[in-house]
Symmetry: C2
């Protein structure tokens, strides 16, 4: 962390305070937030969603039109693909996340697939492009924020166009009046301030699709498994180092994966030298993090607490992150140093 | 910005995105936030406010007790005393604010003075100590966050015990279920997660009162005047540098002071070499920032936009900040470099 650029980004955007892992649903204002450009001022009265391109019947929809359609609410865990970036050496300067770029909200909206059917998307369409109102430069290229999905991914039954978060209209910073929600995928996919959906006959070559959010040219897609624990005890203001009382204590946390349900969470109090299985709670929802707990007999002295998650597809968190240029997908285990007294 | 410590703080806490200066009242989640320790989990059902010390009739009040009393709503601008810190050289490491540690909310609660009367505070009390539930270490000293006011300052008619923010129950991060609101004072005074109010016969010597929030031993109190403008045009993601279209454009912003109303705002498009008076809007509320606007004929090329505020008490923003150990009260004028195309 050396540059004014990164400091500006860290002050504007914000992570999720890990003590709020105690709540299954993250309150508004505590969910992580990454905004590439500015938060646009959108007048929901005149705003319209345009669905066009390779479609038989282009659609223009108001917020009320969308609210009149089938409504669904899903609790979805959403994590930035750059979460863990600042734990890697020599990444390209960007939002310097440690481990806190995550949150779980209840998103209410209408499923996308029936809208694509109503528009009559041409089955030969290769990409469905989602474009936001927000506009700016990145690496010298001026563009509106836009991302694409394959037609199959866009048609997945739980992809939503969301107009509410936790039962209130989308806050401005989360995409008012409409955002895309693609359960299981990293946050860059969930286009905020959504303005148009366009079916095109070739792979989308937008900057955010081909330059950002790739590792060695391969696009980042679903969230790798990660577990985070609530740092126990009390913190120091500056260092955030924890002081914990000795004796039996219950360590709790939450874990998630975009590749399937969490099959196992393991806890370590010795920096990963030895592990014990944590007990998993009942899931909050199919696409939301799952709580877990582990008992720990805290003996006086320094300890390093860790947890690692394994999903049903067999993906497990590594002990150490793997470097890549953009600092993406570093799901190495969280390390929480504590001093027991 | 060099340390992991500061990065952690910048990722946890967050500033106010300046484009939201377009709104007189800051939406929940966009108000600046500085949390010294952790956000405590408070059960409002069992939580009580205790008023004691040098009083004739100690009081123990529930949230419902407080809501049954006189209710008042005030729009109050709240700024961190450390706003501008990271623009100073060699300050003591802390939350590295640039200029964005501010927000304006509608706080609803009950006035404090009648409660102090009901408790029968001894008129010889020197300090009224406000203590929060939140606890941790700072510079090696373990304490619950606590600040004091003189009896006169505590009795000021607009000091509130607030249980709502913008019409909803206080969010956890803003002090649920109760916080102190002291209009005009820097944010450190507005104790969150308020738990006890204690009248004592001597100056309060708590860490946050005597070690933090002082300049050369003098306590920081009211907000010095500051004006912020909405950076025009569109940003670059990483550098936040702005690109603006040429021609006549209206620059808008907001200004505030804890020492009285804003008497004047001046705008400069040449880095402070020359200034023109901005037009002031009608005030939102007595203790809230006031909007202003200035016309600017943007000519192609680089420019540095600035604004400076002067309050009715004659305090004006300096062009450059004055160094102090803790990096407090740097209200030097904001500088917004733009490139007009």
């Amino acid at each position: 962390m050396t540059s004014r650029d990164e400091l500006q980004l860290a002050a504007r955007n914000h992570g999720f305070p890990l003590e709020l892992l105690r709540e299954p649903i993250t309150p508004v204002g505590l969910h992580y937030l990454l905004i590439h450009f500015d938060i646009p001022a959108v007048d929901a009265g005149t705003w319209r969603l345009e669905i066009g391109g390779l479609v038989e019947r282009p659609l223009v929809l108001s917020v009320d039109d969308l609210k009149a359609r089938e409504q669904r609410t899903l609790a979805v865990t959403l994590e930035c693909a750059g979460n863990g970036r600042a734990l890697l050496p020599d990444y390209e300067p960007s939002q310097p996340w440690l481990t806190e770029a995550v949150g779980t909200a209840r998103w209410t909206g209408t499923p996308l697939a029936p809208l694509l059917d109503d528009a009559g998307v041409d089955p030969t369409a290769v990409s469905i492009v989602f474009t936001g109102v927000d506009r700016g430069f990145q690496s010298g290229v001026e563009h509106a924020y836009a991302r694409s999905l394959s037609l199959d991914d866009a048609r997945a039954p739980d992809v939503l166009l969301a107009y509410e978060m936790n039962g209130v209209p989308l806050p401005p910073q989360h995409g008012y009046p409409l955002r895309l929600v693609v359960p299981g995928w990293y946050g860059m996919t969930h286009v905020k301030w959504l303005h148009s959906i366009t079916a095109i006959p070739e792979p989308f070559d937008g900057w955010q699709q081909t330059e950002a959010y790739t590792i060695d040219g391969e696009p980042v897609t679903r969230m790798l498994p990660r577990s985070l624990l609530i740092p126990p005890g009390i913190p120091d203001f500056l260092t955030r180092e924890r002081t914990v009382e000795r004796g039996l204590t219950t360590i709790t946390g939450r874990a998630w994966s975009g590749f399937g349900e969490i099959a196992r969470v393991e806890f370590s109090s010795d920096g990963g030298a030895s592990w014990t299985d944590a007990e998993l709670d009942e899931p909050v929802d199919r696409y939301a993090w799952v709580g877990w707990r582990a008992e720990w007999d805290a003996a006086p002295g320094p300890h390093e607490l860790c947890a690692r998650a394994t999903d049903a597809a067999g993906n497990a968190q590594p002990l150490d992150g793997t470097w890549n240029h953009g600092g993406y997908c570093n799901n190495s285990v969280q390390r929480v140093p504590v001093m027991v007294r």
